[in-house]
Symmetry: C2
Subunit: 243 residues, 2 copies
């Protein structure tokens, strides 16, 4: 087992995981942000990513169900407000549906998740199971990809606006909200992990949890890349399958 790190060293190790494995480095995102995809491929991305979006509140509720810490629950609850909305027709999931609708996808088809790639589904479901079954520290640490998301969002919004005439600033409203929400959430979770990973084993588990999370984001893009980037191999039943 490695030695106990200081909190600053642990943070450095966590940031190194992101630098190496966060999905901004995946080739699919290079194509997406660089204007190299056609409208159908962008649709496929938004449709599949909806599955991740709509399951996030269940993941966050699973985390809250595990903790006896009222303060942690109260802070974490804001994530449910952000995604499910303060009221009907609000929130991140609704904003994601704005994106898929603007891209020309049928709202009910998206919500049904019928066209989602099995590989994407398994990756997201693995995330929920991880948060439900592992230690609370690992559950919190797995959220730390938020540290890296403002950079990719800025890149994405600029790239997609510049490169696709079917994308407007309103289409991407989801991401503007996340630019404020993600750093707030990441700061809290990083502080939590720094304070609660107090043994080498716990520090190792926190790093492994973040690695796991990076892997599952990456796996979603692998599935998209394989299915929809030339020569795409769409699996039976998924969006765009020709039968």
């Amino acid at each position: 087992m490695t030695a106990l790190m200081s909190a600053a060293e642990l943070e450095q190790a966590l940031r190194a995981v992101g630098a190496e494995r966060y999905h901004n480095r995946h080739p699919f995102h290079g194509l997406l942000h660089g204007g190299k995809l056609d409208r159908r491929q962008v649709q496929a991305w938004a449709l599949n990513r909806y599955y991740y979006q709509c399951r996030i509140p269940q993941k966050d509720a699973a985390l809250m169900a595990r903790t006896e810490d009222r303060e942690l629950r109260r802070v974490w609850r804001q994530r449910l407000v952000d995604h499910d909305g303060a009221g009907p027709g609000e929130g991140g999931i609704e904003r994601w549906l704005r994106l898929t609708t603007d891209l020309g996808l049928d709202r009910n088809y998206v919500i049904s998740t019928a066209g989602v790639l099995p590989g994407v589904r398994y990756a997201v479901d693995a995330y929920i199971a991880f948060v439900r079954d592992r230690t609370l520290l690992e559950a919190v640490a797995s959220s730390l990809t938020e540290i890296f998301s403002p950079a990719i969002i800025s890149e994405r919004v600029a790239g997609m606006l510049a490169n696709y005439d079917f994308i407007t600033r309103e289409t991407l409203a989801y991401f503007n909200a996340r630019l404020d929400q993600a750093p707030r959430d990441a700061d809290f979770a990083l502080d939590y992990v720094r304070r609660h990973a107090r043994t080498p084993e716990q520090q190792h588990a926190a790093i492994a949890a973040l690695t796991f999370k990076c892997d599952l984001l990456w796996a979603q893009l692998d599935a998209l890349h394989h299915a929809y980037v030339t020569p795409g191999q769409v699996p039976p039943g998924a969006f765009g399958w020709s039968g």
Copy 2:
């Protein structure tokens, strides 16, 4: 299997469960409300009931983690706000701690749950497991004891104020808040169960879920009664144990 009931018949059957099994009929509550307990016994009740109070948000988060219905999650979220508070120092759990503190119990000892009767702990833990593992309909139906709580709360507040000189209106602030919250929650859950229990099997499961919930509230009072009502038999380690 019994025949399909109308929604009104189902509601009637659910109300009949409460009329027969809700814990307002338990002898311990008769003693509590009638001024027949001493301060130590009232302390034991408040201390043990804290375990139920503090676990309720985990139960509600477990329910939210199970559903893909954003609307249901959004409405149910209010329960977490009610119990955990809109901000620090607020909410139902904090108000329950006001009660235990006013009764002369050490706040940290209460929060530690170290003195809780094992029988109470098992009953509450069984509730959380039920909500996590059964169908969503059963999870919602198990909350329907809220239908019956305003009556017992009114009786409790009046009885305790009249009968105990160590109880003030401020001590019982928890219950005043519940008089507004419980009917709102019960109306929503009852409407949900009426709409979603659409087969005889589902109706039977909903009735059984409410029966299960009544049983676990009752079991908590059985444990209290056995341990603290003359001749009380306090189990090892629990509040008031003399070793």
